[in-house]
């Protein structure tokens, strides 16, 4: 993907929320490590994670955009889109699993155990990354030439 800043932010919001959302609907059915929770509780937790990733992601995009300026090609290699799970995931982990940020979202004392968080994070990240680097292009022939912008 050859994004502009505006395009990266738009793409991140749309793809994370739609594709990540669909993925959450699916994995909430068999989410490991939370056997006591209801489907809606699990889904709520997963969607909370998506929102955290998206909101923080907009900030991360500003950082990446700055780094890109140091690259001659002004691009962001496919691999970078994958490995940024490390920094983004760590921050999200601190905020979500340690519940310093998202208590407004969750019921009572329900929280994602660490293994469940990692499962949800890694699989969602992979699905979103694969989608953005391939099938997304089927839905719009303009998106990739407009730096990832939808509007």
């Amino acid at each position: 993907m050859l994004p502009t800043l505006n395009g990266r932010i738009q793409s991140r919001i749309v793809i994370t929320l739609i594709i990540g959302g669909l993925w959450s609907l699916l994995i909430a059915l068999f989410l490991p490590g939370v056997s006591g929770a209801s489907y809606s509780d699990k889904l709520r937790a997963l969607l909370g994670l998506l929102i955290v990733l998206t909101v923080l992601g907009i900030g991360w995009e500003l950082v990446y955009h700055g780094l890109m300026q140091l690259r001659w090609e002004k691009d962001w290699p496919t691999l970078f889109g994958l490995v940024t799970i490390v920094n983004e995931g760590t921050l999200a982990y601190v905020l979500v699993v340690h519940r310093r940020f998202d208590h407004w979202w969750f019921h009572d004392d329900y929280r994602l155990p660490r293994s469940t968080f990692l499962f949800a994070l890694i699989t969602t990240w992979l699905v979103v990354w694969l989608w953005a680097n391939g099938p997304m292009r089927v839905f719009t022939v303009h998106w990739r030439f407009r730096g990832g912008r939808f509007v």
């Binding site: 140091l70 002004k74 970078f80 089927v138 839905f139 303009h142 990832g148």
Partner: protein, 530 residues
């Protein structure tokens, strides 16, 4: 030979030969030649038959093909498109040039995985398709690993030439491309009184009752490729002065004889140029050295020797070394959709020319196999570089090969060589092409800040609109416009999309929204004819 000698391409017909072609009635008259805007009566008086069709694309190369492909996918019926030109298949000229410059079908191009002229979506990409088609787990994983880790842990993935040609062939059949093709040489495009254009075609002799046929259309698209590929001045002087066309060659000409000769006896080859073509030719020479035990010595002449990263600031610095400037593709990658595309789109005049200058310049990709070969050559002494400007090239005193006189910082250096291969790929001025020369003279077309054909962001040629008609151009002739990567697979598709969107606004074809995009992709994926 004239001073305008260029590489002869297959399908190209010299101007004089075109004038002598065909015969009989229906030829251009003085009145037509001297009138910029033609009336229907003027053509009728000359006896030139007229074919009416809404859209004409001139060139019949990959530019015409991807534009036709886009329009067909937009729902334009094949009867409403005419492709005019001499290429029997869209990739003929391209394959001729790549084959001569040592990229046969089994070798890899310099093109991104998602730059797929047979598929407007770029999905599935060449790498994914290569993986699916490969036999064995390792061969399946290799292209996927490559494309996922480029350019960090691997060199950029690039498709094999054969894969590009074969997939284009399948798409030509799917969209009935050949039903749109009328073969012949396009002589000129002129405005028509009342709107639209006339495109004059000279069909192959004997195929039509008249010498010329006119195509009357509301829209014309020009994608005629290189106006011409030139030799370096000093090499051209040598060739014409000494009438020697086999010792000094251009990499884009057939020159297999050189490699064959080097297998028979030791020799020295001078390479001129620091781009991908030079890399390719070096690879062939060194492969032959390794496999066929040739004793070839290589002297590589750089005009500018690049020692490391270079550029105006830390924000615009390109990698380089050992003489070369390194870059994955022929422009920084973000010109095809990212930041540089967005930036160039807003620039005018000198600002645009300046950015072109910053991101331009000869360069080649880093490929580890090439790096290894040249490193070995430097170590063993059979690959040497010299930096300077060539003063002259003359026959060697013993009548065996050539002597290149080079002005270096240490004074004049003489390099004896059996052969000189020009890998610079200089492009001729657009006015060297008859269609553009005519357009500049008669139809209001002008030049952009870098001297080529001036086009809008929609690829409409500025100044040539006529009534409800528009004239578009894409490809290398439009370099210097709001979009830089024009002379590439993806660039031609980006141009096709801009043109398609503009045509849809005028009611020709349907805009490619998500629904059409998905439904048409499903057709493509099933190989279903449009």
């Amino acid at each position: 030979m004239s001073g305008r000698e260029t590489i002869r391409l297959p399908g190209a017909v010299p101007d004089a030969a075109d004038e002598a072609m065909g015969g009989g009635t229906g030829d251009l008259t003085e009145a037509l030649l001297s009138t910029s805007v033609w009336t229907d009566q003027l053509l009728a008086a000359a006896g030139i038959p007229v074919v009416e069709v809404p859209f004409v694309t001139v060139g019949s190369g990959i530019g015409s093909f991807v534009t036709t492909d886009y329009l067909r996918i937009m729902g334009v019926p094949k009867e409403q498109i005419k492709v005019l030109g001499n290429n029997p298949v869209p990739w003929s000229t391209y394959e001729y040039l790549t084959r001569n410059s040592q990229i046969p079908r089994g070798e890899r191009l310099r093109s991104d995985s998602a730059s797929t002229p047979d598929n407007i979506w770029g999905f599935p990409s060449y790498a994914v398709r290569e993986a699916f088609a490969a036999k064995g787990l390792k061969n399946k994983l290799f292209p996927l690993w490559n494309v996922a880790t480029e350019p960090i842990f691997s060199n950029y993935y690039t498709p094999k030439a054969g894969q590009a040609f074969e997939s284009m062939e399948a798409e030509t059949k799917r969209i009935d491309y050949f039903d749109c093709l009328d073969k012949g040489l396009v002589r000129m495009v002129r405005k028509r009184s009342g709107g639209g254009y006339f495109t004059i075609l000279t069909p192959p002799a004997g195929t039509t009752p008249t010498k010329r046929v006119a195509y009357k259309s509301r829209w014309v698209h020009l994608a005629v490729g290189y106006p011409g590929l030139k030799f370096l001045d000093d090499l051209q002087t040598y060739r014409t002065t000494y009438n020697d066309y086999s010792t000094v060659v251009n990499a884009y000409e057939p020159h297999e004889g050189i490699y064959e000769d080097l297998k028979k006896r030791p020799g020295t080859v001078v390479i001129r140029g620091g781009g991908i073509v030079a890399s390719r030719i070096l690879q062939r020479l060194i492969d032959d050295r390794d496999r066929e035990s040739t004793q070839v010595q290589i002297v590589h002449v750089f005009r500018t020797y690049i020692t490391g990263a270079h550029g105006p600031s830390i924000f615009m610095r390109r990698r380089g070394g050992d003489g070369w400037a390194y870059q994955g593709f022929n422009y920084p990658k973000s010109v095809w959709g990212g930041q540089l595309k967005a930036r160039m789109r807003k620039l005018e005049g000198k600002d645009r020319a300046d950015l072109y200058k910053t991101i331009g310049g000869t360069n080649t990709p880093v490929r580890w196999s090439w790096q290894e070969q040249l490193k070995r050559g430097r170590k063993e002494g059979w690959y040497r570089t010299v930096t300077g400007s060539v003063e002259s090239v003359v026959p060697a005193p013993q009548g065996n090969g050539t002597t290149t006189r080079l002005k270096t910082k240490d004074g004049i250096v003489e390099i004896p060589a059996s052969y000189i291969i020009d890998c610079t790929g200089l492009e001729a001025d657009i006015a060297e092409h008859r269609i553009f020369a005519d357009l500049l003279t008669h139809s209001g077309a002008g030049r952009n800040p870098v001297g080529r054909l001036d086009v809008e962001r929609t690829f409409e040629v500025k100044g040539t609109a006529n009534g409800d008609g528009k004239l578009y151009a894409s490809g290398t002739a439009t370099l210097g416009g709001y979009f830089p990567g024009v002379d590439t697979f993806l660039g031609l598709q980006i141009a096709a999309q801009e043109i398609g969107d503009d045509l849809a606004k005028q009611g020709f074809g349907s805009y490619m929204g998500p629904l059409r995009s998905v439904s048409q992709w499903l057709k493509w994926a099933r190989g279903k004819a449009i």
